[in-house]
């Protein structure tokens, strides 16, 4: 139990001291997770909405696949992306392996199913409500998608937060494709894994507390934004 107390003291100390390495790690965690979540949202939300408003053969199967991919194991995605980006792999020429870009890529793959599945859910409900009116108005498919997403923007925030939460807590994929390189691809989660491995459990716990505080802060900002949209 006193490890938790020590961890809390370490966490506060790290933050107050403004330890340069910690700032770098925090900034990298945030930038990778935000980049991935935003990209996944931009691609996934229109796809989810499109699935809600259209009717075509195989639609059911696509929705099923999107939901099934929610259970995609991160470390498997990491391995797949590693094989893709490896110099002896098809995309090796990009030189993306062991860079933050590779981490963002792996996380986008993990987050897009979440965004598609969640946005499909609320788009479906909204379409049931507004679909008739939109069709009568003669709105085209892209326009309908845009309108549905605009109406459901509060749900979009929740979807974004789910995706972001998954990204910021993820470690299996990014440690394989990023390499956990000090000062370059080390994020909060991979640093916690490393410190645990070194037996420095108090530091690992302290970093964990900072990570949780960070996540809370992002959620708070999103919550405030959502409130402002309701006015």
């Amino acid at each position: 139990m006193n490890e938790i107390g020590r961890a809390f003291t370490i966490a506060v100390e790290l933050v107050v001291r403004g330890d340069a390495e910690l700032v770098g790690i925090v900034a990298l965690s945030l930038s990778v997770s935000l980049a991935a979540a935003v990209t996944a949202l931009c691609f996934g939300a229109p796809v989810g909405a499109a699935l809600a408003i259209s009717r075509f053969r195989g639609r059911g199967a696509l929705i099923l696949v999107a939901n099934a991919l929610l259970g995609l194991p991160p470390v498997v995605v990491g391995l797949a992306v590693y094989l893709l980006l490896s110099r002896s792999g098809p995309l090796g020429a990009l030189g993306l392996l062991f860079t933050p870009g590779a981490m963002v890529m792996a996380q986008i793959l993990l987050l897009t199913p979440i965004v598609v599945a969640l946005s499909h859910r609320f788009a479906d409900a909204l379409w049931a409500q507004y679909g008739g009116a939109l069709m009568v108005d003669g709105a085209s498919a892209p326009r309908s998608i845009a309108i549905i997403l605009a109406i459901g923007r509060a749900w979009l925030i929740t979807t974004f937060l789910s995706a972001f939460g998954r990204a910021i807590s993820e470690v299996g994929a990014i440690i394989v494709v990023g390499g956990n390189i000090r000062f370059y691809t080390r994020t909060m989660t991979t640093a916690i894994a490393l410190e645990t491995s070194k037996g420095d459990l108090s530091l690992a716990l302290g970093l964990g507390m900072v990570l949780i505080a960070l996540s809370l802060a992002v959620n708070a900002v999103a919550f405030l934004l959502e409130r402002s949209w309701r006015r």
Partner: protein
């Protein structure tokens, strides 16, 4: 880190521009919040982009034991100060490091399995293998020592006694240099403990294995450096050390530029040469944990 420096300048510019635009924005607190959030997002997203193609760096595939013992934290800043080259270390088990090298994803290797290294070069994946340094392995275990191996000078005999007593033993089980050494010791006496209930094959790095061994009150084969640096020892103490068989030499290998034209052959060679000559040796020998030197220059007299 350097990417963030550049972006801080950029974000300051954004914020200044926004501040200048203030009189035209309706003074609603929430819209200022939105602008602030947007600016922060821009900074953070930009810093995720690959930065500084002008920076000189090489990718070194090395082992968890060198990373977790803190050696790189000590010698890499020295190397960078002397040559201006950043060394990015991907620290994984030796088996994985050799695969990374064979796939051309690293520019150089620093690993500790002579047989694996020789095979790597023989397969045409690497060139110019050189001995760099050595440390030694030790057998650690609970201070109560149920198998009675304390003070033994013969590692094989210690392993025999552990098997005979069926005392819990934690193996890394991850095809690392340490794991390969451990398996060689079992094999040397025709013992194969795999599958025995007291033999716990974990598949984890050295530190994680030690964590588990502490909780299980088990014996572990570990390199001295990681154990010295380890902060969660619990009841584990060094029980067997000093056997010539337990010497642990490290080798540096360059990934073959003939096979992988994209490797940074020139900078990797600078690293390779530095490591195996006076400045690198001085840096390695000067690394101490609690006053104890952890890595020694030479091959270890067993090879």
């Amino acid at each position: 880190m350097l990417a963030i420096q550049g972006d801080l300048d950029w974000s300051c510019a954004i914020l200044v521009a926004l501040a200048a635009a203030r009189p035209t924005i309706q003074d609603r607190p929430m819209s200022r919040l939105r602008i602030f959030v947007f600016a922060c997002l821009c900074v953070l997203l930009a810093s995720a982009l690959p930065a500084g193609a002008e920076e000189r760096f090489i990718t070194l595939a090395s082992t968890t034991s060198t990373e977790e013992s803190g050696l790189f934290g000590h010698i890499l800043p020295i190397f960078r100060a002397q040559t201006g080259i950043e060394v990015r270390v991907v620290a994984v088990g030796t088996g994985q490091a050799l695969v990374i090298g064979a796939r051309g994803d690293a520019d150089a290797l620093l690993v500790h399995d002579r047989a694996g290294e020789d095979k790597f070069v023989a397969d045409g994946n690497g060139i110019d293998r050189r001995g760099v340094m050595y440390n030694d392995f030790v057998i650690v275990g609970p201070s109560a020592d149920p198998a009675g191996i304390k003070g033994l000078k013969d590692a094989k005999q210690a392993f025999r006694k552990i098997a005979a007593a069926a005392s819990p033993f934690c193996s890394r089980g991850d095809d690392s240099g340490t794991n390969r050494m451990e398996l060689r010791l079992w094999k040397a006496q025709d013992l194969s403990p795999r599958g025995a209930p007291w033999y716990r094959e974990l598949g984890t790095g050295m530190g994680a294995t030690l964590n588990t061994a502490v909780e299980m009150q088990a014996y572990v084969l570990t390199d001295r450096a990681t154990f010295a640096h380890f902060r969660n020892r619990g009841d584990l103490v060094i029980l067997v050390e000093g056997d010539k068989l337990l010497l642990n030499p490290y080798g540096s290998i360059l990934v073959n530029p003939a096979k992988w034209p994209k490797v940074k052959a020139a900078d990797a060679r600078i690293w390779h040469e530095w490591l195996t000559s006076a400045p690198g040796r001085a840096a390695i020998s000067s690394y101490r944990v609690n006053g104890e030197q952890l890595f020694f220059i030479g091959d270890g007299s067993s090879e």
